[in-house]
Symmetry: D2
Subunit: 257 residues, 4 copies
């Protein structure tokens, strides 16, 4: 049984709609509609065990995954959803040890996911021009225990990246096309770039600029996710879903002179 340590992030689970990401801190209470939980007592427990609230309700202590951690983030901007983040990870070939440039940081959700995967020897270089976003993102990335693998650069990505020979570039910007030439310069030959954009017009412009700036193998996709209600004899998709987050575009750098 894995004991819970001071400072651990746990997922407190009441039911599928009520679960919270909580940092286990001494002397702290966690208030819910189903009563108060004494976080200090949790330090005597193991993952998978339960704790009772002041009102006698059972709460379970689960290991949070990347998606749980994201859902607790402060979000000054739209976050990248797991369905999109998962594809970005695979299509950019992000694995342990890789060096990745990200622009912009936003709330740091994808930053955290990528950092968790490139550790211990890889690195995420994340750029955002917005001071406030970056400050929130730093806190979020710390919360996700990913701070050591991220370098935050509070500069305008359009003026260029300081890193070169990185393994992949991820763009989550309103105007990704303006950063494509810098991305080209910083990227290893043959290696991939990804871009996330909500509107089709952004995708059109990005693809057009990628074609003119030494990228090939360009593809754009959209990913949907639908939850199922599974119950013996009454199984069906749920009634409402997120209809759209954005389009993903992928491409590879070539030396084309």
């Amino acid at each position: 049984m894995e004991k819970i340590d001071k400072g651990d992030q746990i997922l407190l689970y009441f039911d599928n709609r009520r679960k919270w990401l909580v940092s286990v801190i001494e002397d702290k209470k966690f208030h819910t509609h189903k009563g108060i939980l004494d976080l200090e007592k949790i330090m005597d427990l193991a993952y998978g065990e339960s704790i009772e609230s002041s009102l006698g309700y059972k709460f379970w202590i689960l290991k949070p995954n990347s998606c749980d951690i994201l859902s607790a983030f402060k979000r000054p901007t739209q976050i990248i959803y797991p369905k999109d983040a998962g594809l970005i990870i695979l299509k950019l070939g992000i694995t342990s040890g890789k060096k990745i440039i990200e622009a912009g940081t936003g709330s740091g959700s994808l930053t955290s996911i990528m950092a968790q995967i490139v550790k211990p020897n890889g690195q995420i270089y994340t750029y955002d021009i917005n001071k406030k976003f970056m400050s929130i993102a730093k806190k979020n990335v710390k919360k996700a225990n990913a701070f050591d693998y991220v370098k935050f650069v509070n500069e305008d990505a359009r003026e260029g990246f300081k890193q070169s020979n990185v393994d992949a570039v991820m763009l989550d910007l309103a105007d990704p096309w303006n950063v494509v030439p810098c991305a080209y310069n910083s990227l290893k030959g043959g290696n991939p770039l990804a871009s996330f954009s909500p509107t089709i017009n952004q995708v059109e412009k990005t693809v057009s600029v990628l074609k003119e700036n030494g990228f090939i193998n360009i593809e754009s996709i959209e990913c949907f996710m639908r939850e199922m209600h599974i119950e013996k004899g009454r199984s069906r998709p749920i009634s409402r879903m997120i209809a759209h987050t954005g389009y993903l575009t992928f491409a590879n750098k070539i030396y084309c002179k």
Copy 2:
């Protein structure tokens, strides 16, 4: 510029529909409809450069990602698609250093993806009862340079896993419900299990058995992916798509005595 080494796996790109995963081996020729390529000459090149075929066509040398590697796998069974694999990675919290049980191995596609991410200190324990599948999977996983991080076990997962305290369990079986109790025993408390099944009836049965065997936080989802045709003034989704691969179910182990 990153030089190509003997034994490297490269993605030879002609256009979006014609690209091949190729191992760079001395004295070997690669035959295409657009002419023959001399792989020995590729060893003088760098990723991102191009080579001419005997018929004068240009082929580009790109860095393959996990998805490219999968697409070249021999497939005795249905493979897990990137859209699903990405979500599995995030929902199971798979990162560098994790120990994961997978049953069954199938063609080794998800095995390879997971192994690339848990390396260098993590490990995938993959079970398959089918000898022929496992032999093909071994070759596929080698091709993906992931062999060192995978332990292949040619046994019936229903009879139990030898590992305990693993970080996550992934089930890709026709009868995942039969393996849920063994999965419970091998999994750390609070930690996640995932299951992939094509039919809704399998999902119903799996969810029901998970509920009775100490799992909570159960959710089932379906993920879709649609490619876009992006062209200035003529952008639209493409006409045909994969309509269904399977449903994903996730859950966490609790101690519920």
Copy 3:
């Protein structure tokens, strides 16, 4: 210009989110957050013209379509959505003059749509065991100006239909399988039946009973609809959508002695 008559149903349009189906009645006022509208004054206007509210806002008078009429229905039960209703119309071959059995009536939404299409010489025979639903449905169907083409039967469809040789049968029931044998008896040879069910388990049971009761050409489908946000340079799908209403199953009767 088509004048508005007393008793007409109009669509009062303020913007895409604020539009109301209104019956034009003398001496009546219509209250909105943007002021009061004097319906009597509307009788001097034509479709396509506008009227000013007491607060000086412009409201447009549009011709309502079947979808607008549905959206104003009282809904004791889930209604059939336009995306599903449209397919039912085409797959059941519903056109002017056809005789159709519907079970159950629900809120009368599909009843109204079908009645509008079979008029002036066709007929809808609609069955519902629930008195309260049927009473609401009658009001709704009147509102849709479709009352003359509908016969309401407040009986249990499982005990049989009185009509025979009908052109098509539509089932919108919790247990459609119990009505399949009666539907068979009332249907012309070679002709179609449709069934709407929210869960996959209902579909499985219905299809199985259809196969055993003289139906072939059985197909089940699901239809999705996603709204687009169209704006020059900022076009994208909207963020949220209805993920699921139900599955549609179609089949044809044969004489299989």
Copy 4:
């Protein structure tokens, strides 16, 4: 039992993948991979009965619906799919007696569907500049028994429609925006227009021109359809689907002096 008449269109059904729309003509044979069928013998049968081929296989005689009829059309252009046609019918309020302008005719698929519904007193005025398309469309519409309710106009819709005060206008053109002003002139006030376009860029341009030309209540949608494989204990969506046909845009005419 409804007898089959000379000239009837029947749906000859072998299994869900092999069914044909056939005109019952004396002295004619119908050749299939499962043997030859003597159509003359069919005239002694009723809908719902079966006939044996020369090789002893059973073929069933079903009543074709609009979708079956479409599937047998010659298609010089993309046809409007049932999922889209159904929504068009409902959103344009097409019912018995309505007068509708359609531009362009294409293969006449939507023309036939609409004509079947507006009969006996309504009328479809369908425009196409392409002589060859119109000639094929005429044959297709005849095949669908809808010829009497359609007026074919082999002229350029951009130069204006001769009809005025029509109940609805349907545009299925490469450049719908060029026809919007003519559509406005021919349409009754408050009444609806629909437009079908494959690309998002066409939709953007159409919506923009609709806004500038006296249309409100503008909405654009996309409709998807997925078939299900239903089998006791093995139910799932099918593996492949049509990913995109086109976007539908709807709007209503106002007098906006």
